[in-house]
Amino acid sequence: MIAFAVPFALWLTAKLLVALGLMLGVVLVVIWMELKWSAHIQSRVGPWYVGGRWGWAHPLAEALKFLQKEDLVPDDADDKVFRLAPYVMLAGTIATFVVIPIGPSVVARDLDIGIFYLLAVSSLSTLGVLMAGWSSGNKYSLIGGIRAGAQLIAYELPLVLALVAVAVQAGTLSLTGIVAAQATPLFHIGSTGISLPFVLSGQIIGFVVFIIASLAELNRTPFDLPMAESELTMGYVTEYSGLRFSMFFLGEYAGMVSMAAVVSTVYLGGYWLPGLSNDLLDWLGPFVLVGKIFFIVFLFIWFRWTWPRIREDQLQQLAWKWLIPLTLFNIVATATLKVVF
Amino acid sequence: MTDSPSENTPEGFAADFAAEIGAERWTADNDTVHVYVTRDKWVAAATAARDEAGLGFFSFLSAVDWAKEVAVGEPADDVDNLVERYEVLCRLSSATEASAIILATSLDKDDAWLDSLTSVYAGAAWHERETAEMFGIEFRGHPNLIHLYLPDSFEGHPLRKSFALGAREVKPWPGTVDVEELPSTTNVEAAALSGDDTAQSAPEGEGS
């Protein structure tokens, strides 16, 4: 029994470390990408001197900068909740990587209720944000926190309903199952089977709604009201500094990567590329997935540096009056299509 | 007088308007029209300006402190027959034409109060608060006559001529310095030169 337990425990920690390392590496690259691309959009140069050519070490330098800054806790802050908030939010984001398949056989833990777990865990970060907003003892953080709470709850629903439609079409809740469903050929032209990722085969509405909802989930423009620089200085993050602030900063970008990973797995076919055999995919899978993640992250960055932010009552109206009816219609349509074909 | 002034030069406009509200006198030199009114006709004149003469645009309200001896800057022109007073000026103009007047009234210094124009012009509130704190004139009927610019703990009224400029008391004026004399000759004319020609009324500094 023990013989079996030790390698399993070792094997699990190894897998978690790999997943964590991959995720952290991708997050640092994403931070660099946001700095570089936003600069070029604004005809600036962006990171340049740090780490020689192209400023590749800029995110590392920022992390070190935050480490050596003093992270103070305001006097009238609610002490324990204030210290715990960033870790609750980060945990909620990192936990989603457990379920995302990186290759046909490479996945941290292949749960057969993958999507359900995904949504349950990602709403944990809402809790972290509310804790931060309430406990900072600062009026602006309170307003930022409450705005975040209302926004995240309002956009949880379209997220869930969009994924329901995917589950209906794929017939399973497990993510590897969904990727496999996208890999099976839909129809045949001559001998070769053509198989399409869900975004092309009927889930386009779900894809668009999911992108909008994940933008709101991540508090990114046009929905960055909780951290509205020009109104609430930094929203619920105002009182944080040093290591705790970098946790929030990391949490935001890790959230971006995790949402991008979920979108690419569920809608763009995850690690799968047409024409690659399974064992080849074992090695190339992660790179394909990361490529798709970078594309989705480019979308997020592109939207942020082009559009303003909207007011929170417009934001709520968008969610309740537009996104939710759309996703309901999407579920009905997918179900009927599923039955007909 | 509801129709437009007879000939719409500033003088014509001033003449008709002054006659209509029974002003003491009016002047229109440098084509800036001043209409002098006694204190009790102040609000009536403003209302007449807004309703009859169509001067609805509230430009500004301020005051000039006429004082004999002056702690700051150059004294007035003919100091001896100068009447010590606060002259409150309120400029009213029309938003679409070029016609405008400056309503002026004189308050003597120890009884400096005036009726507030906030009932006639909404924009007068801040201007009156500023004039009140800068000159110490009391505007009766003003909704909240508290400090506008200065911190609440500030005593004194800065724009009065008796209020000296702090910065110029502290730092000696670099301009008073002059060329140091030869050790042998004591040049009377040079000493005199450094004594009197102060372009500004800075304190006398000894040439170092």
């Binding site: 691309w37 600069a39 070029h40 959009i41 604004q42 005809s43 600036r44 140069v45 340049w48 592109w302 939207f303 540096w305 082009t306 559009w307 | 730092k171 004026w173 670099p174 301009g175 310095v177 002059d178 060329v179 140091e180 004399e181 030869l182 372009a199 170092s208």
Partner: protein, 152 residues
């Protein structure tokens, strides 16, 4: 009524095009922009023109020019000639921490002792170092450019 999303889409297209255009930043320490000849960067002093008449110190609104001078006898060539004196500058400081670059001193100087120079890289860590003394001001004379040609 234009199509609802057209404004947003045009914005996106614009930012995408901007992404691939060359940035305009001048990387300051390595690349330097060429300065306008009339730019008012720093005031240069030529001590031989200056007769320490104190006009600039008096006219300066910020009181930031400090001058000290003393009279010096000029040796006459023929014996018994009239002893003439000349002003010798001891100290001529401009405190750039106070100066607002209005240029009244340069304009009012009757002996062309003060010149404008576009040099602007004299930032300091301590504000006291912004008080440039006579030698520093004479150094700046080297950076005074030729006045630009005029529009015909």
């Amino acid at each position: 009524m234009p199509i609802p999303g057209i404004g947003l889409a045009k914005g996106l297209w614009l930012t995408l095009k901007a992404l691939f255009r060359k940035p305009v930043t001048v990387m300051w320490p390595d690349e330097k922009e060429e300065l306008a000849p009339r730019a008012r960067g720093v005031i240069a002093l030529s001590t031989d023109n200056c007769t320490s008449c104190m006009l600039c110190a008096r006219e300066c609104p910020d009181w930031c020019i400090y001058i000290e001078a003393h009279k010096v006898e000029i040796p006459t060539d023929k014996p018994g000639g009239r002893v003439r004196t000349r002003n010798e500058l001891d100290r001529f400081d401009i405190d750039y921490g106070l100066c607002m670059y209005c240029g009244i001193c340069v304009e009012v100087c009757p002996f062309d002792a003060l010149y404008w120079s576009p040099a602007h890289e004299y930032g300091e860590y301590k504000i006291a170092d912004l008080l440039h003394d006579k030698e520093k001001l004479v150094e700046w004379l080297g950076t005074v450019p030729e006045p630009p040609a005029l529009e015909k």
